[in-house]
C-alpha cells in the first residue's frame, strides 16, 4: 500500500470523525428500509421515498396523520355538477423554499413533466388510467407533443383546473405530492433532474427542504421557513436512514439511532408485542395478497376446482399461526381499505372453516379429482420469507383438505414477475398495491380489458365497471362498484388471502404517527416529547 494512499485513508477517517452523530436531540430519525429509487418527485415510484418527498413537496391536497385528505397547497376546491371538472384555489402568498412565488402553472408543469416520455416516469398512468385526465394518454404515449391538449390548466396564478374524461370521486386521492408535486421550472431548466438530489440547488414547497443526500445512507431534511404552515411544524430536523436488513434496523432502534422503524422482523413480532405493546404499530395497508388461478390451464378453467382451492385455505390459521406477519385475512378484493365501501365477500365467507372445507371436498370430487387421481399443481411465488411461508402453508392445507400435491416454485422477484405472462404456473402468489385507499384501484385492475395476464373473459364485469365509472358521487359509485365486485368474486378467478400490514416500531416520545391505510406519515404532523 502506497504511503499517499495511507494518508488518504487517514484523512478520510478523520473526515468521518467530524460528522455529527445521528441521534442528536430534536432530530426525528426515521427508517426507510432499503435504498430509495429516486428523489425526483415526478419519477419516484417507491412508497418509502414517497415519505421523504411528502416532507419536501406538497401537492394540491395533503394527508393528515390518519391519512385523511386535507387542503394542501390548495385551500379549497369545487367539483362541477357532472363530476368531471375540479377547480382548485391555491392559498394566498405561497412560496417555494427559495422564496420564489409558487403559482398554479407550477402544478401544470409538474404534471406535464410526469407525462413527458423523455422523463421516463412510470407514474403517468395515474392520470391516463387511474383517473382519465383529458390529453394525458396522448401525451404519455407520445401521440402528441402539444401540451395544450392537457386537461390541467392554470387560468390564473391561484387557480388549477383539472378536466377529466369521466367523473372520478377518487381523483382527490391523486392530488397529493406523490402523484402531483409542483415543478420549480427555473431550477429544473438550469439543473435538470440532478438538481433534485443536490442540496445546494433543490427547490421544494413542502414543510421541509432536503439538505443532505448520501446514497445508501441517509437523507437529511430541515424545516422550510417559507412553508405556509411553518408555524405548526414542530420537528426541526428529519433524517431518513437506509437499513437494508430488518434485524439491524431493530438493533438501531434499540440503540436509539432510530425513532421510527421501516419494518419489524417477523420472528420478533410476538416478543415485541408482549414486551412493549405501546411501541408496536401494525395496521392495514393497501397491499392485497391473493392467489390467482391460471384460467388457460386445465383444471383451473373449471370454476368448481378454483372454488374448492379457495375454500380449502384456512386464512385465520395461515396468517395467525403460520405466516405470523400481522396480515389481515380477507374474503374480498376491493373491500377493507375504505370503511365507507360496503363491498361483497365470497359467498362462503359466512360459513365456518369446517363447513368450507366440506364444501371444498365436494367441489373437488365434482371436478373429477380424488385420492386416486390427485391434482398436481405448482405455486409461483417470490423467495421472500413471508411469501414462501404463506405458499408452503397453503400447499399444506390443500394437501390436508383435498389431497392436492402442490409444489412451491420460489422465484427471484424479477423472474416471478415475468413468469406471470407464461403458462408455466397453475397458481400464482399474486399481490397488488393500490394507488389509493379505496376499492376502485383494485377492481379496475381486474378489468379483462386492463390486465391481459389473467385471460379472464367477462363482458358483464366490464359493463358493470363502465356503469360505475359514470357516477360522480362516491356513495352511488360504491354501490355500483359493489355490484361489479360480486361478479368478480363469483367467478373465483383468484383466492383472496389477506391484506398485508405496515409494521413499525415507534418510540414512546414520538407523537402523531398514526395508522394510515394509504401509508402517508408526514413529519410535519409528528412531534417529539
Amino acid at each position: 500500500m502506497k504511503f499517499r494512499t495511507v494518508l488518504g485513508m487517514l484523512a478520510m477517517t478523520a473526515a468521518f470523525g467530524l460528522a455529527a452523530p445521528a441521534f442528536a436531540d430534536g432530530v426525528l430519525d426515521r427508517g426507510v428500509g432499503s435504498e430509495w429509487s429516486s428523489l425526483d418527485p415526478q419519477v419516484n415510484f417507491d412508497a418509502a421515498a414517497g415519505w421523504i418527498l411528502a416532507d419536501a413537496y406538497e401537492g394540491l391536497v395533503n394527508f393528515d396523520a390518519k391519512g385523511a385528505i386535507i387542503p394542501g397547497a390548495a385551500e379549497k376546491w369545487e367539483m362541477s355538477a357532472d363530476g368531471k371538472t375540479y377547480t382548485f384555489t391555491l392559498r394566498e402568498g405561497l412560496k417555494w423554499s427559495n422564496g420564489d412565488p409558487l403559482v398554479a402553472q407550477d402544478f401544470v408543469a409538474g404534471m406535464l413533466r410526469t407525462l413527458n416520455p423523455e422523463t421516463a416516469s412510470e407514474k403517468g398512468y395515474y392520470f391516463y388510467s387511474t383517473i382519465q385526465i383529458k390529453g394525458a394518454g396522448a401525451l404519455a404515449n407520445a401521440e402528441t407533443t402539444d401540451t395544450s391538449v392537457l386537461g390541467v390548466t392554470a387560468p390564473d396564478a391561484r387557480t388549477v383546473v383539472v378536466q377529466m374524461e369521466a367523473p372520478a370521486p377518487h381523483m382527490l386521492d391523486l392530488m397529493g405530492s406523490f402523484q402531483m408535486a409542483p415543478l420549480h421550472g427555473a431550477s429544473f431548466a438550469a439543473n435538470g433532474a440532478g438538481g433534485f438530489i443536490d442540496p445546494a440547488k433543490v427547490v421544494s414547497n413542502g414543510a421541509y427542504v432536503i439538505t443532505e443526500v448520501v446514497p445508501q445512507s441517509h437523507v437529511l431534511l430541515q424545516k422550510n421557513p417559507n412553508y405556509w404552515d411553518a408555524a405548526n411544524v414542530k420537528v426541526e430536523t428529519v433524517k431518513y436512514h437506509v437499513t437494508e436488513d430488518v434485524s439491524t434496523e431493530l438493533k438501531r432502534y434499540d440503540a436509539g439511532e432510530l425513532d421510527i422503524t421501516y419494518d419489524i422482523p417477523l420472528a420478533q413480532i410476538e416478543t415485541l408485542k408482549a414486551e412493549r405493546p405501546d411501541e408496536v404499530m401494525i395496521f392495514a395497508s393497501t397491499y392485497l395478497i391473493y392467489y390467482s388461478f391460471n384460467l388457460s390451464v386445465p383444471p383451473f378453467d373449471n370454476v368448481d376446482m378454483r372454488r374448492a382451492l379457495s375454500l380449502a385455505i384456512d386464512r385465520e390459521v395461515l396468517e395467525g399461526k403460520i405466516v405470523k406477519g400481522g396480515a389481515v385475512p380477507t374474503f374480498a378484493y376491493g373491500g377493507g381499505f375504505d370503511p365507507a365501501y360496503q363491498g361483497p365477500q365470497i359467498a362462503e365467507a359466512a360459513m365456518t372453516q369446517p363447513e368450507r372445507e366440506a364444501l371444498a371436498q365436494e367441489l373437488y370430487a365434482k371436478a373429477g379429482y380424488g385420492p386416486d387421481n390427485p391434482l398436481k399443481l405448482s405455486i409461483a411465488t417470490t423467495v421472500a420469507e413471508v411469501n414462501t411461508r404463506r405458499a408452503n402453508g397453503i400447499a399444506l392445507m390443500w394437501k390436508k383438505v383435498l389431497g392436492v400435491e402442490a409444489q412451491v416454485n420460489g422465484q427471484e422477484r424479477k423472474a416471478w414477475l415475468d413468469l406471470f405472462y407464461t403458462d408455466d404456473w397453475g397458481v400464482f402468489a399474486d399481490n397488488l398495491v393500490g394507488d389509493f385507499a379505496g376499492p376502485e384501484t383494485f377492481l379496475s385492475y381486474m378489468r379483462p380489458s386492463a390486465e391481459p395476464g389473467y385471460d379472464w373473459v367477462k363482458p358483464e364485469y366490464d359493463a358493470a365497471m363502465d356503469a360505475a365509472a359514470v357516477i360522480p358521487d362516491k356513495a352511488g359509485r360504491y354501490v355500483a362498484l359493489a355490484a361489479a365486485e360480486k361478479i368478480l368474486l363469483d367467478d373465483y378467478i383468484f383466492a383472496p388471502i389477506a391484506i398485508e400490514p405496515y409494521r413499525h416500531l415507534v418510540k414512546p416520545n414520538v407523537k402523531g404517527f398514526e395508522a394510515s391505510v394509504a401509508g402517508y406519515h408526514n413529519s410535519q404532523f409528528i412531534t417529539l416529547e
Binding site: 468521518f16 416516469s121 388510467s129 433534485f196 438493533k251 439511532e257
Partner: protein, 307 residues
Amino acid sequence: MFPFVAKRIWSGFLTLAALATLTFFIMRLAPGGPFSRNRKISPEVQANIEAAFHLDEPVWQQFGRYIWGIVRGDLGPSTRFRDYSVNDLIASGLPYSLTIGFWAILVASLVGIGLGLAGALRRNGWTDYAAGTVGVIGIAVPIFIIGPLAQLYFSVHLGWFPVGGMNDGWRSLVLPVLVLALPNIAYISRLTRSSLIETMRENHVRTSRAKGIGPWLVMVRHVMTGAMLPVVAYLGPAAAALITGSILIETVFALPGIGRFFVDAALNRDYPLVMGITLVYGGFLILFNLLTDLLRGWMDPRVRHEG
C-alpha cells in the same frame, strides 16, 4: 522488471475485457428486466421508458454502446437508482468500502502476523492456544453471526459504538472493521505460524544460527523474509476482496458501500450498475494480484525469475 509488469497489465486488460463481455451477456440471460412490474403501464409508455435506457435496441448494439461508454470512462445510467449514473454511485460508495477494507486489512495483518509470531515462538504456550482459539472462532463463525452479536453487546447493551450507518465518525468504523478483520486475522495468524515453524527448521536458518548470528537478526533477516511469502500471497487477493467492500458487512452494519449496490443492482436487473461494480472488483483484484507478485518478486528471487 518492466516487461513483466507490461505483460501483466496487458493480460489484466484482456481479463477485464473478457469479464465485461461475459457479465454483459449473462446478465441479460436472467429472466425479467429493469422495468418489469406488476402494474399496468401502457405498452407505449413502457416502450418509451425502455427506449430512454436503450433497452429496445438489439443486444449487440447495446453491447457496442456499452463498450464505447467504457472507453470514454462512462459506465452509463443506473436504472435502479434513477437519480444517479453508475459513475456517481461508485464514486459515492467506493470511499466507504475502501476505508473499511483498508483498516480491516491493516488490523488483520498486524494482529494476524503478531499472533502467528507469538504462536510460533512459544509453541504450545498460552499465547499459542489463545491465538489458536481466536483462529478457530474467526474462521468457523460467519460474519452474519459475529456481526449481530457484536452489535447487541457493544452497541445496544454497552452503547459504545453505533449499530449501523456512517453517522458517528470513527466510532462507526470500529465494529465493521473488527468483524471484517476477524476471519482474516485467523487465516493470517495460522498461516504465519505454520510458515514460520517450517522456515525455522530449514537448513539456511540452522546454518545462520550455527554461524553465531544473534536470534533476532536470524529471525528478521532469514526467517521472516521466507516465512512471509505465503502470507503475502494470501494478502493480495484478500486485500482486494476486503477493500472493494464486503456485501455481508455492509448489509449487517447498514454501510453505504458498493457491496450493497451490487446486490440491489443484480436483484433489480440494473445492468449498467452490475457491470460497473463487476469491473471495479475485477480491476482491484488484478491490481492487487500484480502488487502481490511484485512484492513476492522483491522478497524471493525465485518468483522474480519465473516471470
